[in-house]
Symmetry: C2
Subunit: 546 residues, 2 copies
């Protein structure tokens, strides 16, 4: 059987555009011989719609879109994700569902069984799960139609199952001889490989072919990577969708031998493509075209600028250097060299006059006090004021350039360098930033070598270096990985060989800077545990890890 | 039977303090003749612990605290909320549980059955629900021990039940003759009355006495009001805990006739007390003592200052006037008069020199452009820079003064007047702000009359008034109530008699300003639908209500 796979990018709430894109792609795969066509989870409303699901008009518009798409569907069925109403009470009023459309109408519905409610997922907040699943009979076959998480509960693949039910086993028990999975599965580093391995295990164990269509595109923090998969009954790949780009193809699922081989780009390239897609979709889905960012001469802003140029084109990126009294001359020359290498517009707007004015304004109340982070933060905040003024004047979004290591320990200024619409590298540790920079420079110097090799500095006081306040980034990132990502206790981290005083200091910094992250710009999520909507920590709390 | 009710304020993660406070109060009610003592839901770890629950060390500390409390409990049982481990798999690894402690050990456990997963609640994210409930037999009685939401599913009280199960009915069917409910039920305007009416209905219908202990105190956005309740089997009140304050009392539940009458302060007073508690607990639980805020001479900053003084004392509040070229002379005199009335420290720190400096900095890039919100926002952001500098220098938290109407339509400057640790009145519509101001001034003029009567203005351009950009607040707030709180469609709102153009404009402003709210300070929640953690809307989305 030939399955048409529509790996497309939809925009939340843009029903007309999502509908038209879906229909056009459906017609294309039909013309290429598809016998059954699949499109991603909640494609018509976009993913994740979050609390828009609580709006009856949003649900109505989604149901209307299904009817409009159905009107364009002929004899070849199209299976697509939508939000259905659940009329049974008690129970949540909605379901996350797949509709099979044919000859103008909905001929089959399958409700999602397993509703992820962890990390960034809140599906229990909105949806009632399926009570049962059943195969859809078509052309003498039994198609097991599943939605995303439904396939992520394999007892053999995972050390611990999250859910009681296993919809795949239930479908196989009812004779399903082809598993289809429509997904909106967000990416993090390495996810495309875990996902493929998991799907291969399912196909091989159940001895059925399997096709998964995954959403592509970014929405706020989440990046959907595509990488759709078609496997034969031996679990061998028959087709693999592109990564981080739309892809529409037809695959014959009954091929006994593999027809493609999985070949993955190096992790740095995958990360680069993910972040670039994240920028492009955030900016364009918000109906902006261009961005502005501060260029400090350092590695973080350099990488963010390179990504922005890849995402939006050099003409749509403005780099701004905002030197003050503690800026090194290297900062200016490195920023300028980067701008030249990238071919972007570049402005130098010194903040020194503003800094002097604020010092004068506060001279009376500050008299007799010692310089502290108050003066440092004024400089950072004046840079924020400058970038936001450019944004407000010219209609460009500000990109923030902070990395995950800084965000974790609060080595950043709220309303200062944290200003911006999107935090591009907020989920990338500093040690990975260096790897990414070396990958970017693999063929030619795009990021000035000096930006990579000089000791990192915020340059907010004389001769300041990051490592005056923080441990070496190798150490810091290792501790953060254990504390923030793996939730280890202080004692367990010390047992791994880190100095108690250093561990203590890092944990205290993480705890104390929660209030900054609460007000941070949305950050692109590329790890299993990002700061942002998937990590919810009270600010007013006194737990101290022991 | 005499029930001891411990309506106490706990701090998330402060196990030692929560434990000691609990034990001291337990000993007090035992001395007063209590035969069975109850304390709030998740009291030992504090509520809501959110993703701290994902940390094994947090769970360990909570279990250790239960053991430590048990060691101090004698023959009079103490029932208190804690986080228990759930060892069965598949299933979430934790439960939200009640422990009955007696003679040094845990003698009974009851798991919460109904897990709220809506609005600010995410309990499905963490907890496995009870499979069943059973009464706890004690002194010849059967105590039905329930946890918060367990009692909120009465089929007769609510037009629509949320859950399939009704733990109260299950307990009654097993002979429960006294219902106990340990709660962390957050407040919104009128909630104390809804809650009492609901509990009265349960007691009366089941013909059992009922005692609910509710948490008191604020944690980030949430304000727990206390107002614990004891009812006889006719549903008549036997005891009512204080509102917005700790209260510890003993009540004989078998009194056949009511012994107290519910008398509620006016809504403005309740709101005032809630917001004051919200400030005090946020500031003190974050280990700060004092606050600083901008005084514009307007009503919003005036009310915030009055609340701050009530919460923290006049000595701990600094008011700052930051005039610029468009500030009216009335702004300064009104701000000064307020500061005098409140007896707080007051500084005048004009931002004009900073504004001139930034204008100079940007003169080149801005040349040939017309003044727009860029110049307006620079002024607001320089005020943010000033307040944050004072905060960083003197260790005071900044309070933001924006109201819900402004926050809804984005009539506020991100990183400007939105700067701050806590948004005190962010969930109060402007029309309610006026009511609150009149209540504050009921006996004497505290807020200068002119601040209440003059047309509201941001004073960021010549002769600016709020109503140049916004409909009258009566109209705006009515539309916002229908759109944001009640989720009505555009057509439905117009049907209620509002002009289509106005409705359209308001809805567009709400939609377009989502990015500002994403980065807003935590705001005290006092309505059923606040901006903040209980309202989750994508930023990059294009749904337009029809």
């Amino acid at each position: 059987m030939k399955i048409g796979v529509l790996q497309l990018n939809s925009t939340i709430g843009d029903y007309a555009a999502n509908r038209d894109k879906l229909v056009a792609a459906y017609e294309r795969v039909c013309a290429s011989g598809a016998e059954f066509v699949i499109a991603p989870e909640l494609f018509l409303c976009g993913y994740p719609p979050r609390d828009l699901l609580l709006r009856p008009d949003f649900i109505e518009a989604n149901l209307a879109a299904v009817v409009e798409v159905a009107a364009r569907v002929g004899v070849v069925p199209l299976c697509v994700g939508f939000v259905d109403r659940n009329e049974t009470r008690p129970g949540r009023p909605l379901t996350n569902s797949a509709a099979v459309l044919q000859n103008g109408t909905i001929i089959w519905r399958q409700i999602k069984s397993l509703l992820p409610t962890y990390d960034v997922f809140d599906e229990d907040r909105y949806f009632e799960p399926a009570k049962s699943v059943a195969p859809f009979e078509f052309q003498g076959r039994k198609l097991g139609i599943t939605i995303c998480e439904d396939i992520w509960n394999d007892a053999d693949f995972w050390p611990e199952r999250l859910y009681r039910r296993d919809p795949i086993k239930e479908l196989i028990a009812q004779g399903a001889d082809l598993i289809l999975n429509i997904s909106a599965s967000p990416w993090c580093v390495g996810k495309e490989q875990t996902r493929l391995a998991m799907l291969q295990r399912v196909a091989r164990d159940e001895r059925v072919p399997l096709v998964q269509v995954n959403l592509v595109g970014a929405n706020d923090e989440l990046i959907f990577d595509g990488h759709s998969v078609a496997l034969n009954r031996a679990g061998e790949p028959l087709a693999l969708g592109k990564g981080f780009a739309e892809d529409v193809f037809v695959v014959e699922v009954d091929e006994p031998v593999p027809t493609v081989t999985a070949q993955w780009p190096v992790p740095e390239e995958q990360l680069f493509r993910a972040l670039s897609l994240g920028i492009r979709d955030y900016v364009t889905k918000c109906k902006f075209k261009s961005v502005v960012l501060g260029l400090s001469g350092g590695i973080d802003s350099a990488i963010t600028a390179v990504l922005a140029v890849d995402a939006l084109g050099a003409d749509n990126v403005l780099g701004v250097s905002m030197p003050a009294r503690y800026s090194s001359s290297g900062s200016l020359t490195d920023a300028e060299a980067l701008a030249k290498n990238l071919g972007i517009r570049y402005e130098v707007l010194p903040i020194e006059p503003g800094f002097k004015a604020i010092e004068g304004q506060l001279a009376g109340v500050f008299s007799g006090t010692k310089p502290n982070e108050a003066e440092e933060n004024i400089q950072s905040r004046l840079r924020g004021v400058t970038l936001m003024a450019l944004s407000n004047k010219f209609g460009s979004l500000v990109l923030t350039t902070g990395n995950k290591s800084e965000m974790a320990v609060g080595y950043c200024t709220l309303y200062g360098d944290m200003c911006g619409a999107l935090a591009v590298i907020a989920d990338v540790f500093k040690t990975d930033i260096y790897k990414l920079a070396r990958w970017i420079n693999r063929e030619q110097v795009i990021i000035p070598t000096d930006s990579i090799t000089k000791p990192p500095s915020a340059e907010l006081r004389p001769d300041q270096k990051d490592q005056d306040s923080l441990p070496e980034y190798e150490t810091l990132d290792a501790i953060l990985q254990l504390y923030v990502v793996e939730n280890l206790s202080k004692a367990e981290i010390i047992q791994r060989g880190f100095a108690a005083a250093v561990v203590n200091d890092v944990i205290n910094k993480v705890t104390f800077s929660e209030y900054k992250r609460r007000q941070a710009a949305p950050g692109l999520k590329v790890s299993p545990r990002a700061f942002g909507s998937g990590r919810r920590i009270p600010v007013a709390q006194r737990f101290r890890a022991s």
